[in-house]
Amino acid sequence: MADLRIDLAGIKSPNPFWLASAPPTNSGYQVQRAFEAGWGGAVWKTLGEPILNVSSRFAAVSYNGQRVAGFNNIELITDRPLEVNLQEIYETKKRFPNHAIIVSLMVEPKQEKWHEIVKKVEDVGVDGLELNFGCPHGMAERGMGSASGQVPELVEKQTYWVKEVARTPVIVKLTPNITDITVTAEAATRGGADAISMINTINSLAGVDLDTWNTVPHVGGKGAHGGYCGPAVKPIALNMVAECARNPSINVPISGIGGISNWQDAAEFMLMGATGVQVCTAAMHHGFSIVEDMIDGLNNYLDDKGIASVMDLVGRTVPRYSDWGNLDLNYKIVAEINNDVCINCNKCHIACEDTSHQCIDLYTESGRPMLKVREQDCVGCNLCSIVCPVDGAITMVERKSAIAPMTWNERQSLISNLAK
């Protein structure tokens, strides 16, 4: 039984699975149900000046019949009175003293507004704060959320204001709606952030109804962009986490968010540098009980790997993530097709022929259709193995290079040295 406890910038929780600040953490009733189901922590849905919400808020993208491949929302921060939320936070913490309760906050970019809300929230007893500089819709039009989060100076300044009064760890939640997330991440650390979390949702429009020509979703015939999340955004989020994790000037823990649906996703984020993860869409799709397999699966995985504590997983793949210029130009892999397993759909052939390097030949042997890779022309792009529907039919295998490893950067420096 591995130790699943985490310590993220001083915030301790019994396991790395937190519910992200979102509809699932709107009330004490919900957060308490989540803790009963096994969630290790919850980031309370963002508190701020109460707002008004619209009707029709969510939309999802199905992909080839798979529901909720991606999820889009235009719901804003909490629409419940601050006092009600604070009372419920107090009661929840009292009932679950060992679970992490982090409260998400969003106010106008004014020092006194931040001071006021931080004090109020910390007074009821929370484990940490998360500053919402990421919400891309609605609030951003009022200068908050991602409107703040896209301006490094505003991120730094507001973080600083919070840190002036905060007694609990401060996590800054970053928006992905920016060219280089490490810039705002660095700004947050300059402002004194104890941790950063990412990603918030990505600007999105889920679709258009081809009969009514309304947007999806729409509010009485009119739409506005929402925030995209769910499994579809995972690769984007994973890269942003990794870029921050490998950046030497961002030396704070990361809470990973974005499309995490099971223990495997969580383990990947942790390997890429996240100390814990936050989940929303998967819980909205299936209910809180999904955390049971997250815990059980992660525990079995760690046991299998002989890892005693989940904290030992954090960042293990970060040293293997780098710039393109540091990749070995002489490393070579090629595709190998096992005709005994192949079911002859020919998808690899046409993918290679039409869209890659024309190196998979179709031929017949004793009347049987076969496929073969011309290795000398194969660039090892992986496309054939990606489109192959059968396990074990195409394997990418390494071919030892006769030439010593050399990266682009090494090559360029060698050339410039020779020129001297």
């Binding site: 798979q66 223990w263 299936h286 397999d293 059980d296 699966g297 079995n300 995985y301 059968v390 396990d391």
Partner: protein, 450 residues
Amino acid sequence: MDSMTSQLQRNFVELTNRMTKNEALEEANRCLYCYDAPCIKACPTSIQIPNFIKKIASGNMKGSATTILEANPIGASCARVCPTEELCEGACVLNASTKPIKIGHLQRYATDWAMESDAQLFSKGQSNGQKVAIIGAGPAGLSAARDLSRFGYSVTIYEAESKAGGLGSYGIVSFRLPNEVVDWEVEQIAKLGVDIKTNTTVGIDISAEAILEQYDSVILAVGMGAVPNLRIEGEELAGVHDAIEFVKQTKMGALTKDLVGKRVAVIGAGNTAIDGATCAVRLGAENVKILYRRTQKEMTAYKFEYEFAKQDGVEFNWLTAPQKIIGDEAGQVVGIECVKMKLGEVGADGRQRPEVVEGSNFIIKVDAVIKAIGQTRFVSLIEAFGLKHTDGVVDIDETTMQTPNKKVFACGDVVFGNGQGEAMVVTAAQQGKDAAQMIHNRLKKPSELA
């Protein structure tokens, strides 16, 4: 090995293949992960089905197998023998929209992983000093033993046969349930420290009194016995078989070649009759007829078993009752004399009573007869424990599994019948778990000891 022997052996190889990884993942991801899922409620052992399926989807195979076997110690057997159309799969909400999840196949996929990985999923509980004897190492007895051992009891099982497993080892046809599966389940239970004494018949090798004296609690899980006599002429002839014994022989190694090219009549139309008939077909019989004195409507075999038998080429002769088995000079079966029946008044069991059509006698030429008209009860053993019974069905308090003797519990087929429940392997497993839980509850509340 001659070609006939290898042909017969092929006939007894497990019929269905394990899902491939692709198939399992596709199917697992199709599961809706319902809340308050009807499949769980339809499972007599209440396996958390959506959870084990989600774990297959997430690659948590150990977790998946544990979820299944936690709820059902013989979950690998049940994956193969449960009438899933009547249980979990029949309850799947997708029946109403597309097609139900193949829960049985997924359960097999996960438990096969456990069998092959040889992972130790459960461990013996800390000893509480209590000793329990279980009579019978079938599905009920094994399930009770597994849970009691986890609770910390010292458990001894007494089994008359040479192998543990009961129905799984001797009664379920190999092409549905290969021996390796049951052997593995027994091994898991033995690994928890359960002492399984095979070749030990209670009443011969050890007395009921000695057991009652030596143990704190006793679970009677002896199942049922041989097929009763038809009470017609010719039952002693060579070529007349008891279906239970007939199936058992096919599970014990060498497959007989005596039925190759022969004509076989099976008397009865329950699931055991189907087993006898399909085994006969697989042993090379040229023609196999099921003779039943009622009609398809009254038959107790599951619909899928009936379909399966028909696909194996078994003929069904309804409203046909045997009157006499005819032998030749050498005492070998050569035919069976039958009489046509018709359905009359509705009887006490709600079914129309079959009545003889006078003068309708006719003879069917057969070389073998397999009797499958139910099973006898171990009445003398039940009485040796001083237990009350109704026609061999032990009287119990159905909520506590307790007999009037407070330290003796009973579960499995020995308590089935007379309108009490249905004799499924999975139900026996649940009753075994229940008996274990009841014994444990009683220990936890000593004040309630009688």
